[in-house]
C-alpha cells in the first residue's frame, strides 16, 4: 500500500510540473499586462510602464519567466522555513497572503453546498432508482436535466431577485394569500404521493393527508406572524423529535427492532426535556459551550443505546446517537429562530435579513446566535445555487449505480433468503452502490475547490474563483499560478483519497 502511495505522489508531482509550465505559458499568452496603463494619461506613463514591466520582468521571454517563478515556488517545499515566495501581484501584494483568505471563503461557501448536494442527491437517486420507470422517476429526470442545463449565473440572478429581494419585501407584511396556500398544498400533495407510490388507494390517502397538513401549517404561519418571529415551540419540537426517532429506526433497523425503537424514543424524550432546561444556558453560551453540549448529546445517545443492550448493541447505539444529534439539532434551530426577530430588527440589517452580497454584515455584532444567523443569511443563496448545480450530477450517478446493483444475482439471493425489502435495499444494494460513489465525491471535491467562479462573481464573495478571474483578466501570472498550484494539489490529493476509499470500501480490492 505504501509503495502505491509513494509512486502515485511521484507521478502526481511530475504531472503538476508539466501542467504548471503549460498553464504559465497560456496565462502569459492570454493578454498584455500593460494594457490598462497604456490608456492612462498620467504624465509619467512611460515610467509607470517601465516599472511594471520590471516588476513582472516582461522583457524576459515567458518560458524563462516560468523558471523564475518555479524557483520561488520551490522554496515552499522546504518544510520549516516559511520562505514560500510565490511572487507579488500587480498591486505588489504578496500572493502568499492572498491565498489563505480566498481559500477560507471558498471553503465556507462550498462545504454546505457539497454536503447538501450529496445527501439530497443520494436520497433522490435511490428513490428514483426504486421507483424506476414510474411517473416520479420521469419527473425527477426532467427536473434534473433542467437543472443540468441551466447556466449557473441564470439561477443565481433569479434566486437573488425572488428569494432575497422578493422575500425581504414579503417580510414587510408576511401573509400568504389563500389561493397561494391551496396551490402550495396541492403541489406538496402531488410530490408526497409520487414518492410513496404503491396502490392507488394508498396514494390518494397520502395526497389528502399531506395536502391538509400543509394547509394547516401555512395557516398557522399566517396567524402566528411566523415569518417575522419564527420559533418551533415545545409542541413542534416534541412532535418532530419523535418523528425523527421513528424515521431513523425505521430506516436503519426496521420497526420490528423494539430495542432500537426504545433507544430512539428515550433520546427524543431527553431532547424535549433539554428544550425546557437548557434555554437559559443557551442564552449565555459561546461556541465552546455548544460544542461541549454536542459532544455530551452524542455520548448520551451512545450510552443509552449501549444500556438498552440486547443482541445488536451496535445498532441501538448508532440509532441512539443519530436520534440524539438530530433532535439536538432541532433545539439549536429553534434557538436560532428565537433570535431571528432580534437579528432582523438590528439597525445594520433594517428588516431585510436575506443578504445578496458578501459573507457577513460588517458592522453587526451580537451573541453567537445573531452572528450564526448572519452567516446563514449570507450563505443561503450561494449555497442553494451551488447545490442545485451539483445535485444533478449526484442524482444521475446514484440512480444508474443503484439500477445496476439491483440487477445483480446477490440481490435475488438476498430476497430468496426472506429478507424484507428495506434490508435488501439498505444493507445489500446501497452498500454496493456506495463504492463508486466514494470516488465521485472525492473527485468532485477536488474540482469544486477551484471555486464556484460564477457564483462567487454574482454574490460578490471573493474566494478562489474571484482571485483567479480577476488576476487572469489583468494578465497577472503570479496569483493565477498560485491558484493553479493550490487547486491542482487539492485535486490530486482528492483523487488519491478516492482510490484509497475504493480499497477501503471494496474487500475485493483490499484483500486480493
Amino acid at each position: 500500500m505504501l509503495s502505491f502511495i509513494v509512486r502515485r505522489v511521484f507521478v502526481s508531482a511530475l504531472l503538476l510540473l508539466g501542467a504548471s509550465f503549460i498553464m504559465y505559458i497560456l496565462t502569459a499568452l492570454s493578454g498584455d499586462p500593460l494594457e490598462e496603463l497604456r490608456g492612462s494619461r498620467d504624465p509619467n506613463r512611460a515610467q509607470l510602464i517601465q516599472l511594471r514591466s520590471d516588476q513582472l520582468n516582461l522583457d524576459v521571454p515567458a518560458p524563462l519567466r516560468y523558471f523564475g517563478w518555479l524557483a520561488g515556488a520551490a522554496k515552499c517545499l522546504i518544510p520549516m522555513a516559511d520562505s514560500c515566495d510565490l511572487g507579488v501581484n500587480i498591486l505588489n501584494q504578496p500572493v502568499t497572503g492572498l491565498i489563505p483568505m480566498a481559500l477560507d471563503s471558498t471553503i465556507q461557501l462550498i462545504t454546505g453546498a457539497t454536503l447538501l448536494a450529496i445527501v439530497v442527491g443520494i436520497t433522490i437517486g435511490i428513490v428514483s432508482a426504486l421507483r424506476h420507470n414510474t411517473g416520479f422517476d420521469y419527473s425527477v429526470t426532467f427536473i434534473i436535466f433542467l437543472l443540468f442545463s441551466m447556466p449557473a449565473f441564470w439561477i443565481a440572478v433569479l434566486l437573488k431577485e425572488f428569494l432575497a429581494i422578493g422575500f425581504n419585501d414579503f417580510l414587510a407584511q408576511p401573509v400568504i394569500s389563500l389561493p397561494a396556500i391551496l396551490g402550495i398544498a396541492v403541489v406538496a400533495g402531488i410530490i408526497w404521493q409520487a414518492m410513496v407510490a404503491g396502490p392507488r388507494r394508498r396514494r390518494v390517502i397520502v395526497f389528502v393527508i399531506s395536502g391538509l397538513a400543509t394547509t394547516a401549517l401555512l395557516v398557522f404561519f399566517n396567524l402566528s406572524d411566523w415569518f417575522r418571529n419564527p420559533g418551533l415551540g415545545a409542541v413542534m419540537i416534541a412532535v418532530s423529535a419523535f418523528g425523527v426517532a421513528v424515521l431513523v429506526t425505521g430506516l436503519i433497523a426496521g420497526f420490528k427492532d423494539r430495542r432500537a425503537m426504545t433507544t430512539a424514543l428515550i433520546n427524543a424524550g431527553l431532547a424535549v426535556i433539554a428544550y425546557f432546561t437548557l434555554q437559559n444556558l443557551f442564552d449565555m453560551s459561546s461556541w465552546a459551550t455548544i460544542s461541549i453540549l454536542a459532544v455530551a448529546t452524542l455520548v448520551v445517545g451512545l450510552a443509552s443505546g449501549w444500556l438498552v443492550g440486547g443482541d445488536d448493541r451496535a445498532v441501538s447505539m448508532r440509532i441512539g446517537a443519530i436520534t440524539a444529534v438530530l433532535s439536538g439539532g432541532l433545539l439549536l434551530i429553534d434557538r436560532f429562530m428565537q433570535s431571528w426577530a432580534l437579528y432582523s430588527a438590528d439597525r445594520a440589517i433594517g428588516g431585510r435579513p436575506i443578504a445578496t452580497v458578501g459573507s457577513s454584515t460588517p458592522t453587526l455584532d451580537g451573541d453567537i446566535w445573531i452572528m450564526g444567523i448572519d452567516t446563514f443569511t449570507h450563505f443561503l443563496l450561494p449555497t442553494i445555487s451551488l447545490t442545485l448545480i451539483s445535485l444533478a450530477g449526484y442524482t444521475r450517478y446514484v440512480r444508474s449505480g443503484m439500477l445496476d446493483v439491483l440487477d445483480q444475482d446477490y440481490i435475488r439471493t438476498a430476497r430468496a433468503k426472506g429478507l424484507d425489502e428495506r434490508t435488501v435495499i439498505v444493507r445489500h444494494a446501497f452498500r454496493n452502490a456506495l463504492i463508486p460513489l466514494a470516488t465521485l465525491v472525492a473527485a468532485d471535491i477536488g474540482a469544486i475547490i477551484g471555486g464556484a467562479i460564477i457564483t462567487e462573481q454574482v454574490f460578490a464573495i471573493s474566494g478562489m474563483g474571484q482571485l483567479f478571474i480577476r488576476s487572469l483578466s489583468n494578465v497577472d501570472p503570479n496569483p493565477v499560478m498560485a491558484y493553479f498550484v493550490v487547486v491542482s494539489i487539492v485535486a490530486l490529493i482528492a483523487n488519491l483519497i478516492a482510490d484509497l476509499s475504493y480499497a477501503a470500501l471494496d474487500p475485493r480490492v483490499r484483500t486480493h
Binding site: I22, M23, L26, S30, F148, F153, I469
Partner: protein, 332 residues
C-alpha cells in the same frame, strides 16, 4: 433478474442490422425525438436568419446594425391571435425588441445561438475524434502506451478550462480575424475537453478486446488498425455517441459561462452569455433582454441532454416500462 425471453425468429425477411434495431428503439423514446426536432429547428432558424458567410439571411436586419429605438425597445412580436384577445400573430419590426442603443435583439440572439451551436458542433466533433483515438489506442495496447496516454489525459484535466477561454481573444487577433472567434473557441475547447470521453472509450476497449471475435480477426491476419476501427470501434460506438452528446451540452454551457465572464467570443461578435451578463441588471425593466438568451440556452442544453438520454436507452435498453395492452390477444 430480467427474464427477456429469447424467441427464435425464423422469419425470412432481410436481416435487421444492429443499427436498424437501435434506430427502432430510439424512435420509441418520444422526448428524444421531439428534442431532435427542436434543435434542428433552432439550428435552421439561426443560420437562416443570420446567413452563412456571404449569403445574407432572410431577416432584414444584421446583428450589429444600429436602428432607431422604437417604443423604448419593447418586443414588437405578439403571438396571441386576435380571437384570443391578442393583437394577432405577427413579428413586427423587432420581434425580440432592441437593446439599449437600438441593435435588433432578435438578430443578436440568433447570432449568439449560431455561435453557440458552432462552438458546440466543433467541440463535439473535435473532442470526440481525439477522445476516441486516444481511448482506443490506450484501451487496445494497454501496458506502457496506456500509462503514458492516461498520464497525458490527467495532465490536460488539471488545466482549468477558463484559461483556454481567455486565450481566444489574443489568438483571434494574432490571426488577424482570418478565422472568427467562435471557431477558434470551438477548436481550443475541443482540444481540452476530450478527457472524459477518452476514459469511457478506454474502459469499453478493455472489455471488447477480450471478446472472441477480436481474437478470430487476429487469427485471420487482420492488422491492429483494422481490428481497432473495423471490429472494436463499431461496437463501442454506443458509448462514444452518448458521451459526445453530453460533451456538446457541456460545451454550450461552457461557452455561455465564458461569455458571462467576459472571455471567449469577443464583441462585436455576440455570445449569449455576454448578452445576459451585459443586460443582467435590466432584469426588472427590460426583462426581454434577460429572458430570450436564457430561454434559448436552456432549451438547447436540455434538448441535447434528452437526445443523449434517448441514445443511451437505445444502445443498452434497460428494462423498458411494460404497459400491457388491455388483454386483447394472448399469444397461444
Amino acid at each position: 433478474m430480467t427474464q427477456v425471453l429469447e424467441t427464435e425468429k425464423k422469419s425470412e425477411q432481410v436481416g435487421h442490422s444492429q443499427a436498424r434495431l437501435i434506430f427502432g428503439r430510439f424512435v420509441e423514446h418520444k422526448i428524444a425525438l421531439v428534442s431532435i426536432l427542436i434543435v434542428a429547428f433552432i439550428t435552421v432558424l439561426s443560420w437562416s436568419v443570420v446567413g452563412v458567410g456571404s449569403i445574407p439571411g432572410w431577416w432584414h436586419l444584421t446583428y450589429n446594425q444600429l436602428n432607431p429605438l422604437i417604443d423604448g425597445g419593447r418586443p414588437t412580436m405578439s403571438v396571441v391571435p386576435q380571437w384570443l384577445g391578442g393583437e394577432g400573430v405577427f413579428l413586427g419590426e423587432h420581434p425580440f425588441g432592441q437593446d439599449r442603443i437600438g441593435k435588433d435583439y432578435f438578430a443578436m440572439t440568433m447570432r449568439g445561438i449560431q455561435n453557440s451551436l458552432t462552438v458546440m458542433f466543433i467541440v463535439g466533433i473535435l473532442a470526440t475524434v481525439i477522445g476516441t483515438v486516444i481511448g482506443a489506442v490506450a484501451g487496445y495496447y494497454r501496458g506502457v502506451i496506456d500509462a503514458i496516454l492516461m498520464r497525458f489525459t490527467d495532465l490536460i484535466i488539471i488545466i482549468p478550462v477558463i484559461v483556454i477561454g481567455a486565450l481566444v481573444g489574443s489568438i483571434a487577433s494574432t490571426l488577424g480575424g482570418a478565422i472568427d472567434g467562435p471557431v477558434i473557441l470551438g477548436i481550443l475547447l475541443g482540444l481540452f475537453t476530450w478527457t472524459t470521453l477518452a476514459r469511457l472509450v478506454r474502459g469499453e476497449f478493455f472489455t471488447l478486446r477480450e471478446r472472441e471475435f477480436v481474437e478470430a480477426a487476429r487469427v485471420a491476419g487482420a492488422s491492429d488498425a483494422r481490428i481497432i476501427f473495423k471490429h472494436i470501434l463499431p461496437n463501442a460506438i454506443g458509448v462514444v455517441i452518448v458521451a459526445a452528446t453530453l460533451l456538446m451540452a457541456g460545451a454550450i454551457l461552457l461557452e455561455v459561462a465564458l461569455g458571462f465572464l467576459g472571455l471567449g467570443v469577443r464583441p462585436p461578435d455576440v455570445s449569449l452569455g455576454r448578452l445576459i451578463s451585459d443586460n443582467q441588471s435590466s432584469f426588472a425593466h427590460r426583462p426581454w433582454l434577460f429572458w430570450w438568451p436564457g430561454l434559448f440556452i436552456i432549451t438547447l442544453a436540455l434538448c441535447i441532454n434528452f437526445i443523449g438520454d434517448g441514445l443511451r436507452d437505445a444502445f443498452d435498453p434497460r428494462q423498458r416500462r411494460f404497459r400491457p395492452r388491455r388483454q386483447k390477444k394472448v399469444l397461444k
